[in-house]
Symmetry: D2
Subunit: 255 residues, 4 copies
């Protein structure tokens, strides 16, 4: 098989999906099923803990079948994110987590300095930290040095659906990393996910692209196949680009 | 299911593959199998007819299982292409054909005037003509008026692997056509095929992208999934693009 | 100097501008002045011939100072375009003309078959015909064979402002042409015009990008400089692209 | 006029040029002259201080006519960069400086954590610090908070000539900044410089694109015009993008 490993855990699916913006938990569960994902990420802050009679995500997406990946969406400082994940660990025993420390509410870009600091603290505290970050090759190394078990650069702003804006930086991060690299944020449609994988990423995380499609379950199936196809194309080794049909005419300065 | 129909024939696979540039017929057959294609295209001019002891493509790719689509690769005039297809029909009974009338050997771009002329003659002669053409919306209508049963615009020069250069023209052709539209030429990797399908095309034809991959059979499998994923994404209806995470901030002039 | 020649006439400016969509003739004239253009194109069909008291374009843009280039905007058949240009020649003595034969009103794409036919007739009739066309390298050669004195491929749909969609085709047309090549349609902002020139085109024609800018006169000045800068960059010979700073690391498959 | 101000100094040219990779000082000086630049940046580390008989840059580019902007190219830690700039200030009295703290020799990407730290120290020490950085909107704010007088995000790796890879991030930085923003690194040809200005940047810094052109002096002139044209286009307010010619058909999901 073509599995990948993060923090000692082996997964076959390279697609991680979210749990926000769906019509209801039933639709979310159907999309997760169609996506083939083995990991679902959940914003700790959005988990209902007060109303014991309200429906719960875990009633729809079985925590025994799927790996829950708590994330710190909505946290704007390292301290806030650290506190949130410690609570999550106490409550649910979750050790594999996704760290987000946001720099502002408008663009949801991460604050890299706070993110590095939080990664250090959490890693020392025994967490396996997958880290949302900007697509900065040196910043990615800093995170790895701080103990991140996976690097998760954004491809474009969260929720934008713009697709991967900078293939050069994603590729440089992949080339420099010793831990898995997953594109987190920016995917809008299937080909965007395939591009991420063709760049050599180990996986892709997405939420809005599935949840806000007209038919989320069908789009989830599309994303499953897109991630698989991009991964296979990367492994298969694509043809070179040429400007003309004639193999003896390599690409000139144009392309 | 999500089948498509050309000239009254129903197909489930939306990927058409070629039979050139492979190491040998065995590798070609393995790639066709992995691609899930139901149609394989064959250059009439390259078919071995002289040496009865040499291996034959039909020994490896069963004409009873796959629809053979004879093409006129290497023909530079309407008359040449018409003659070639008439010979093919006499020899093998093939009626569904792919017309290429090339304008020059360097870029292998089609000659649209000769292509329209050949389409008219062949359609009147009872052929079902799928037509390789430039990505010209008006030219595509001319071909449809001339009797083409499918429009096959290039996405980039044959054998270039550059991916779809002009999404605007492909989309305009799709919107204007009453017959199936398939991108023919230009696909280099999986995401390129997904993009073609996301634009609303009915299918994709490719040869070099598979045959010249380091592992053609694995790339054939990648392309199968890419075409399926792009088609599903098109049907599912992608999310809108936004510049910021905030849904109330639509894209401005930038994007 | 770095002049260019079409039909034996020498020009220093490589920017041709239009005369539609302006607030009034005065604004149009100010924009033409700021653009540095030596040629202005005028739709014969839109010229006021009935009301002798209404203001006239020639009162604002002096035909002795600027070369008027009559065009056939609004003509949908070869016959219509031929008739229109013959009337223009009888009325104003214009011999250097711009041919447009449109295929449909929605996209304003040219009909190449009618365009080739009209070019042949007009060339035999003594016109110097600059021809609006799709970005089809073989189609461009057909036009040249038919007697066109300049090839004017669209970069994107007329009035779209999308910028040059297909750099490969424009470059192939430039490489194959023995007459001047000018991008006609699709430019939206200054960098688009620079790109056209960097591809080796001899000039650019635009209307909407200037007329519909918030400040048309300032945009006209921007376009003047953009065309000059792109031309100089083409002549200066740009640096090669590299993936890394290190010159010994050439671009890999990524770019 | 359309001047810009950094640290209380007013400049009319928005193009800053470098002093590396030229054939000799004479060629460098000719290119600077042609570029219209008022600021030239010099790597403190590369300045010859040992051989008093060797030619000196200041013999060719007059420090009374041009503003010399010392930079810390080749420094890989905050301490190293701080020490370098203090030496430069003692030697030449330079107070307006360009800070680069590189993260690695291969890609020459900046180390943002060291860069923020150096900016703080230098700002407190009375320097006016223009700062090379990644195109990270939150990182840019951190630098501004640390006292940077200008933010200089890379458009692509130094010396790559790839053009601006991520228009979204550059635009977000421009929107969020209260100090001037200049694209530093990545420009390869004239249109790249125009794009930077069209995004609303206050200026562009480049070296390789001019120095490694076949004709550096002509390319310097091209860049002068490109920066001016992009700036004018930004101020003029470009037309909206449309998919069709018909103004009533706005762009759909495609573009």
């Amino acid at each position: 098989g073509d599995s990948w490993t993060v923090a000692g855990r082996i997964f076959n699916s390279r697609l991680i999906v979210g749990t926000g913006k769906y019509r209801d938990f039933a639709q979310n569960a159907a999309a997760v099923e169609a996506s083939g994902a083995e990991i679902v990420t959940v914003a700790v802050r959005r988990v209902n803990v007060s109303d014991r009679n309200a429906p719960m995500l875990t009633d729809f997406i079985d925590p025994k079948k799927y790996t829950y990946l708590p994330n710190t969406a909505g946290c704007f400082t390292a301290d806030d994110a650290i506190r949130t994940l410690r609570l999550a660990r106490e409550a649910g025993g979750w050790n594999l987590v996704k760290l987000e420390v946001l720099g502002e509410a408008k663009t949801l870009y991460p604050d890299m300095i706070e993110t590095v600091r939080a990664t250090e603290v959490l890693a020392k505290d025994g967490f396996d930290v997958m880290v949302y970050c900007v697509d900065d090759p040196i910043g990615a190394k800093r995170l790895e040095d701080a103990g991140a078990v996976a690097i998760m650069p954004l491809g474009a702003p969260i929720g934008s659906g713009l697709g991967i804006q900078n293939q050069v930086t994603i590729r440089l991060i992949v080339e420099g990393a010793k831990v898995p690299v997953l594109v987190d944020a920016g995917v809008g449609t299937a080909s965007d996910a395939a591009v991420a994988m063709e760049l050599g990423c180990d996986g892709v995380l997405m939420n809005t692209a599935i949840a806000e499609a007209k038919d989320p379950v069908m789009m989830a199936r599309a994303m499953k196949l897109a991630v698989e196809s991009g991964r296979l194309a990367y492994r298969a080794g694509r043809m070179g680009k040429r400007r003309y049909a004639d193999p003896s005419s390599p690409l000139g300065g144009l392309i």
